[in-house]
């Protein structure tokens, strides 16, 4: 075996050069320039306003739009750890939903004051409607009509984050994967977390089973709430069942496309793309009384399966009975 030989790189007299002299400290010049940029355009609508020329509504709208475009082009916006992009959500993703909310479904909200203005809470709702429009409408209800304009952070199924185009949109609009780690992290950060425990069983169920709640998963959402001590708010959504009544399910197509179901509705795929227009049912979203979990024992309670099952059942029963009473009050599907 060859002898290990140590080769000195410098003579012993060679003074050790101090590290870092060769490397300039990180300059962060870009930060201030970029930080400075957004401030100016925000002031822009007001800046060219010597009292004579008050910017008109469309002028300030235009300025806002251009400022938004510039922010997008320079990457000058903030996202959180989950990928939530409030700038994009606010300006691009939510606006097209508003006509649907106001004019098409004429959503009526009840009990919005049950949702706290600050602090975390877990919104648990029934799921229906073939495509998750109910999730979008609930998000919009809380964003536009809640006094604190809260952002709902939904927990989505695995499939959502596997699909190209859908996956980044889901993250940018504030959603994340339905797993305990993420739910607890969001709740602990005092976010409003939304979950549809029925999952695909609920959203893809046939029309004949409308408003019959499916199994509520494994109660993972309850243990997340218990661990963080945040309240659970049961939410009942009426109207979403009728937007795409599923009268058949093409299992072969579903298998080929790798989807959990391939819906056949009275209009789809019969009318092609026209069949993708949802029926204009009248919606009611009722936010129920919060179920407090803070005094139930915290993390130890979350490890008690009996308690978790009981609480899951309680939430499920509450939503189911509210659904029935809302259906009784409803005059017709469309009005």
């Amino acid at each position: 075996m060859p002898e290990a030989k140590i080769i000195p790189l410098h003579g012993p007299s060679d003074p050790p050069s101090s590290p870092g002299t060769a490397k300039a400290p990180p300059t962060r010049k870009a930060a201030p320039t970029r930080k400075a940029a957004p401030a100016a355009p925000k002031a822009a609508p007001a800046a060219p306003a010597p009292p004579a020329a008050e910017p008109t509504a469309w002028e300030s709208k235009l300025a806002g739009g251009l400022a938004f475009l510039r922010r997008r082009l320079t990457g000058d916006y903030e996202i959180d750890d989950f990928g939530f992009d409030p700038d994009l959500t606010e300006h691009v993703l939510l606006p097209p939903l508003r006509p649907l909310y106001d004019k098409w479904f004429r959503v009526e909200t009840r009990g919005l004051d049950n949702v706290p203005d600050i602090g975390g809470a877990l919104i648990v709702a029934n799921h229906s409607g073939t495509i998750p429009l109910d999730a979008l409408m609930t998000t919009l209800a809380l964003h536009d009509h809640h006094p604190a304009h809260r952002s709902l952070r939904l927990l989505g199924a695995d499939l959502v984050f596997t699909l190209p185009l859908v996956a980044p949109l889901a993250r940018k609009s504030g959603n994340t994967l339905a797993c305990n780690a993420d739910a607890e992290r969001l709740l602990a950060a005092d976010e409003l977390v939304g979950v549809f425990p029925e999952g695909f069983k609920g959203i893809g169920k046939p029309f004949s089973e409308r408003y019959k709640l499916q199994r509520f998963g494994r109660g993972g959402f309850v243990s997340a709430a218990l661990r963080t001590g945040k309240p659970i708010i049961p939410v009942s959504i009426v109207g979403a069942e009728e937007i795409y009544p599923i009268i058949g399910n093409s299992k072969t197509v579903a298998r080929i496309l790798g989807l959990p179901y391939a819906p056949i509705t009275p209009l789809f795929p019969l009318l092609g793309p026209l069949g993708a227009v949802p029926l204009p049912s009248k919606w009611i979203i009722e936010f129920g009384e919060p179920i407090e979990t803070a005094d139930l024992g915290g993390p130890t309670a979350a490890d008690d399966p009996m308690l978790v099952f009981n609480l899951t059942d309680q939430v499920r029963e509450t939503i189911q009975s509210t659904l029935y009473s809302l259906l009784m009050q409803r005059r017709s599907v469309f009005f």
Binding site: A4, P12, D14, K23, P26, T27, Y77, P164, A167, C179
Partner: protein, 348 residues
């Protein structure tokens, strides 16, 4: 415990050189020994200061002699490499990473003088998949173990390091899982990727990325050598950037490539020697990966530069095709034209 003799593997590569020179400048350390298969580049010799260099392959039992003869008490293992091109092919890379680590750990286990082992690992051990939690904590296992390349090597290296920790419980073990490095100088596959004139991305995906400033990486390694920080730590900046956002911050156009064609395109880039992205790194471009760095922040009582700040330090070095100032000026001009408002004085 104050380290007396520190051995740094992988000293001829950028981070190894920087760590060795930082340690060499610390008078409390008696000797700093650098090991690598190739000589350090001439222009960094000055930086290395009093570092002694051993030209040795850690795959060779020779390393054991170095450790026992010099009575090394602290070993910093930084010789797990990510780029097959730099190592001379995937086979050689795997040998250096896995067999090299085994040899090094075997030598360390034999050495009675050993007190501390610091391993530079990577968050790539968590893999990258659509089923990942938003943030990985140190205890979270990967949803699907990395099947190939650098990430798999890193998983295996960590496995051997764990085994070593069981056999030598008296040795302080720090495993540092770094996120992607970036900074004013360092060359990584990611920095080369972001320097391409047109940056290819995967159509329909926009991963979250997390970065670690090169200086912060050195700082953490230095503190692990000088202080006692046993355990596994994710090291990186707070916050995340979307890949699209990062590309726009460097002021480059991007081109979306449909995922069936991605592998072929990646191959072309690899052949051309532009960017050495392996298949599992392509998955990273789809799903990204973010680690929870709060444990390290508590342990070291120190907050490294955020991902956005690390990105800024990189942006400064690459000339941007379109500067944000140009875009802001264009915005003002357009606004002025459309609204016929009195023109704003030109902004600097």
């Amino acid at each position: 415990m104050q380290p007396r003799v520190v051995l740094v593997t992988g000293v001829s590569r950028y981070l190894g050189t920087r760590l060795a020179s930082t340690l060499a400048a610390d008078p409390s350390i008696e000797r700093v020994i650098g090991v690598d298969t190739v000589q350090p580049r001439r222009d960094v010799l000055d930086q290395l200061g009093r570092t002694e260099f051993v030209r040795a392959d850690i795959r060779n039992p020779l390393i054991a002699k170095v450790i026992t003869q010099a009575e090394v008490d602290t070993v910093v293992h930084m010789n797990v490499i990510a780029t097959p091109l730099g190592a001379g092919g995937r086979t050689a890379m795997k040998e250096i990473n896995v067999i090299g680590t085994m040899q090094l750990l075997a030598a360390c286990q034999q050495a009675p003088s050993m007190r501390k082992l610091v391993v530079k690992s990577t968050t790539a051990v968590y893999g990258s998949s659509p089923r990942d939690p938003a943030l990985f904590t140190e205890d979270a296992g990967p949803k699907s173990l990395p099947k190939s390349g650098y990430a798999k090597d890193a998983v295996e290296v960590e496995g051997y390091v764990r085994g070593f920790g069981r056999r030598r419980p008296d040795v302080t073990l720090s495993v540092l899982r770094f996120t992607n490095f970036i900074g004013p100088v360092i060359e990584t596959p990611l920095s080369r990727y972001l320097s391409l004139p047109v940056v290819p991305t995967v159509l329909g995906f926009d991963p979250r990325i997390q970065l670690c400033h090169e200086d912060d990486g050195i700082e953490v390694l230095r503190r692990c050598v000088l202080e006692e920080h046993p355990g596994i730590f994710n090291i990186g900046g707070r916050g995340v950037l979307l890949l699209s956002q990062a590309i726009r911050r460097v002021g480059r156009p991007s081109i979306a490539i449909p995922s069936p064609a991605v592998t072929a395109v990646a191959q072309v880039f690899r052949r051309a020697g532009l960017v050495d992205f392996s298949p599992e790194q392509m998955r990273y471009l789809e799903h990204g990966r973010v680690a929870d760095v709060s444990r390290a922040e508590r342990e070291f009582d120190w907050v490294p530069r955020s991902t956005a700040e690390a990105m800024d330090s990189f942006v400064d070095r690459a000339p941007r095709l379109v500067s944000p100032e140009t875009i802001a000026a264009a915005e003002q001009r357009l606004l002025g034209l459309l609204t016929r408002a009195p023109k704003e004085p030109a902004r600097a």
